[in-house]
């Protein structure tokens, strides 16, 4: 057991997989000698050599396309896309190629990639360092999509993702790298060291993809969320005094529908919470699943609390980001009708 922040936990997972599987390779822009702009690969090139951990040209299409070829060869590439905002140039290689290679070839070839990329806002990154594109991937058959909310989960989920034989989009909420951000931008962030989930087990362990977890047990209201918003939801429960049950989905696809249904059936009320833009966001899918499975248990409409349907603004970041107050207001509203 060691105390780690999320970057350290991610680095530890990479270190372990590089160590126990010679087919694992890690590469991306600035990830080699430098160790990544968020330091996730710091020291790994020194330890495993430049043909296991290396820098890539600034060509996301090439990074993913080459990874698909490496995967077909039998490697397990773990490319990093420096910011999730920059994954779109690779979208065709992800959605048309990595996601369909197995289907196309009856499993003769597969693309066991894990594409790591920092997502989400809260760092004044503006339109191009803040986005949460998860819904673009969950719509594509053949992809798995993961977003951890704690160091412990990040390590176990990343190991499971790398060991998975299918392509996994591994979204890392960059606002959580250094601490469990509760959505109060004007308060100092508590470091991970003061959070229980910074106790990260040593060595190899997996957190299986497709399993949600209850981040806060509650009885009045179910909150379906993931990533940074897990911590904001917990803070909003305290702020609002509403006994919300916060479900941390962890994996968006495959989705743990049963965990969702059992909670909503017990509380009868549901809020869907994410940072991404609202229209056609992953929250829409969650609403659809909830009403398909639990309509007759619902005492009120499922409420979506999300980023607005605008690009991610710079100066207005904290009006865009669903902070604890706005989320708490949402909880109250969800209890009203």
């Amino acid at each position: 057991m060691a105390t780690m922040n999320m970057i350290e936990a991610i680095r530890d997972a990479l270190d372990i997989k590089l160590g126990d599987d010679e087919n694992v390779v890690v590469f991306g822009e600035d990830v080699g000698y430098f160790g990544g702009v968020f330091r996730a690969t710091d020291g790994l090139q020194k330890k495993y050599g430049p043909s296991r951990v290396f820098d890539a040209p600034i060509c996301e299409l090439g990074i993913v396309g080459a990874a698909v070829g490496m995967g077909a060869y039998g490697l397990r590439p773990v490319p990093e896309i420096q910011f999730a905002d920059y994954i779109l140039p690779a979208f065709d290689q992800i959605a048309s190629e990595a996601a369909r290679l197995r289907y196309r070839s009856s499993g003769e070839f597969n693309a066991p990639l894990t594409i790591r990329t920092p997502c989400g806002g809260g760092i004044y990154g503006g339109q191009t360092h803040s986005q949460s594109p998860e819904a673009l991937f969950t719509h594509v058959a053949g992809l798995k999509t993961v977003m951890p909310s704690t160091p412990r989960d990040a390590k176990g989920l990343l190991i499971a993702a790398i060991e998975d034989d299918d392509p996994v989009i591994f979204l890392e909420p960059k606002r959580l790298y250094n601490g469990p951000f509760e959505g109060y931008h004007d308060r100092p962030v508590t470091p991970w060291s003061r959070h229980p989930a910074s106790d990260v087990p040593d060595g190899h362990y997996r957190i299986e993809l497709g399993e949600a977890t209850v981040a806060r047990a509650g009885s009045e209201l179910t909150v379906l969320t993931y990533g940074t918003m897990v911590h904001v939801a917990i803070a909003a429960a305290e702020a609002s005094g509403i006994d919300a049950e916060v479900i941390d989905l962890r994996t968006l696809l495959p989705l743990d529908e049963d965990a969702i249904a059992s909670s909503v059936e017990s509380t009868g009320r549901c809020v869907v919470l994410h940072e991404a833009t609202r229209t056609c966001g992953f929250g829409a899918e969650l609403v659809a699943v909830v009403q398909e499975r639990c309509l007759y248990h619902l005492e009120a409409p499922v409420l979506r609390i999300t980023g607005w349907d605008t690009p991610y603004p710079h100066a207005q970041e904290w009006a865009y980001f669903p902070g604890a107050e706005r989320v708490a207001d949402g909880f109250r509203k969800a209890m009203e009708d």
Binding site: A66, Y73, D92, E97, G210
Partner: protein, 410 residues
């Protein structure tokens, strides 16, 4: 100083459109045997001329000329001739099958047979090709069972791909044939990545990436060149310039501005421009590039100059956009006729034997088609199960897909 004529946009046009006489005057040609054969470890900047000239071995009389003339046994050459003829007969048969509604679409490689058939001869088991839909010769040159190919084309009960994929989108790992994608060019950077993996593992396998002239405009082509020039993996980068991309002539991909072989100069990748209808030249150039790759000397770009003799696909009607008799006027001729002429000239082949070969191959293809047809054709007779549609989306079927399959009643 700066003149004030209004600006105007250049829109490239082919030399000849329907009605006009074919005109290939734009084509830079070399005399067979003219270009030197550099050592495989030459510095790229010393062989730039090879992107402007044309590597050719067979002269107009079918005699092998010059330093590129490969040492191939008559047995190998006859195998090549057989492979090309088989490919053409197979294509003709499948074209007919599509017309008869046995499949949805088909693509021939007529006129381009030499490229895939000769390069395959130079590759080894364990090497991997990342082909387009026009390299069926890579399989046929290995005497791959035609029946299996046809079952896939018919999406029938014998289709190893379970009917999920388009016709002729083969995937044959054991035969060094990567799963074909319908998205142009994507395989090109994948080939480079595969080759990088071989180098990372310290193996000795090489990759061969394929792309068409029109598709070189795609981003994946550029990504392939960037990664190939940076990591120098063991890969052969094949650009098949058959002059056309559906209705767009090669000039629309920048072929008028510069030969496709020149793309390599932008990255100092050794680049050859080769007569793609000259079986001996294709073998020789492929063998040179493959040896470079295998010797850890890195990538080679090869532009194969050829001509798409058939329609783009069964959905296409080329009479709408190009002169009908272009193939007849094509300066590089027909690859099959040229190799045949060479073999006859060498005294190891004759018309009678060729006749018998054609009969034999026709019978073989016919028999394979019959056998495949017994397993069904698209939408008729035995077919892959409907449930196959839900397989291979993931290694293990997740809950939501199982539910959907049940929803459909399976």
């Amino acid at each position: 100083m700066t003149q004030r004529q209004p600006l105007s946009l250049t829109i490239p046009e082919p030399k000849a459109r329907p009605g006009a006489a074919p005109d290939f005057s734009y084509l830079q040609l070399s005399v067979a045997g003219e270009l030197p054969r550099p050592p495989i470890d030459c510095r790229p900047e010393t062989i730039r001329e090879h992107a402007f000239g044309l590597v050719r071995v067979l002269d107009d009389n079918g005699v092998a000329q010059g330093p590129w003339a490969p040492t191939l046994s008559e047995e190998q050459l006859l195998h090549g001739l057989r492979a090309m003829e088989k490919t053409r007969i197979f294509d003709e048969r499948m074209l007919m099958a599509q017309r008869q509604g046995k499949t949805s679409i088909y693509v021939q490689c007529r006129g381009e047979e030499a490229i895939a058939c000769a390069q395959r001869l130079a590759l080894e088991k364990g090497d991997m090709c990342f082909p387009t839909y026009r390299q069926q010769g890579l399989l046929i040159a290995q005497d791959f069972p035609l029946e299996e190919m046809i079952c896939q084309i018919y999406s029938n009960a014998g289709d190893k791909l379970g009917g999920r994929s388009l016709p002729f989108f083969y995937s044959e790992r054991e035969h060094g044939f990567f799963s074909i994608s319908g998205n142009l060019a994507t395989q090109f950077i994948q080939a480079v990545g595969w080759a990088m993996a071989s180098a990372i593992r310290g193996d000795d396998r090489i990759a061969s990436g394929w792309i068409g002239d029109g598709s070189t405009a795609e981003s994946d082509f550029h990504a392939g060149l960037v990664f190939a020039s940076v990591y120098r993996p063991p890969v052969v980068l094949n650009v098949v310039n058959n002059q056309w991309a559906i209705s767009s002539f090669q000039g629309l991909a920048g072929g008028d501005a510069a030969n496709f072989a020149c793309r390599g100069h932008g990255f100092n990748i050794p680049s050859l421009r080769v007569d793609g209808n000259d079986f001996l030249a294709v073998y020789a150039a492929s063998q040179w590039a493959i040896e470079r790759a295998r010797s850890n000397l890195g990538p080679t770009l090869i532009e194969w100059v050829t001509y798409r003799a058939a329609a783009h696909s069964t959905s296409d009607d080329p009479t709408r956009y190009r002169p009908t008799d272009e193939f007849g006027a094509w300066p590089l001729g027909d690859p099959i006729a040229r190799l045949k002429q060479h073999l006859i000239g060498r005294g190891c082949w004759d018309e009678a034997r060729h006749e018998r070969l054609l009969e034999e191959l026709t019978a073989e293809v016919k028999a394979a088609a019959k056998a495949a047809e017994a397993k069904g054709t698209l939408g008729k007779g035995p077919a892959p199960s409907t449930a196959e549609m839900f397989n291979h989306v993931f290694a293990e079927m997740p809950l939501h897909l199982r539910r959907q399959r049940q929803e459909l009643g399976y």
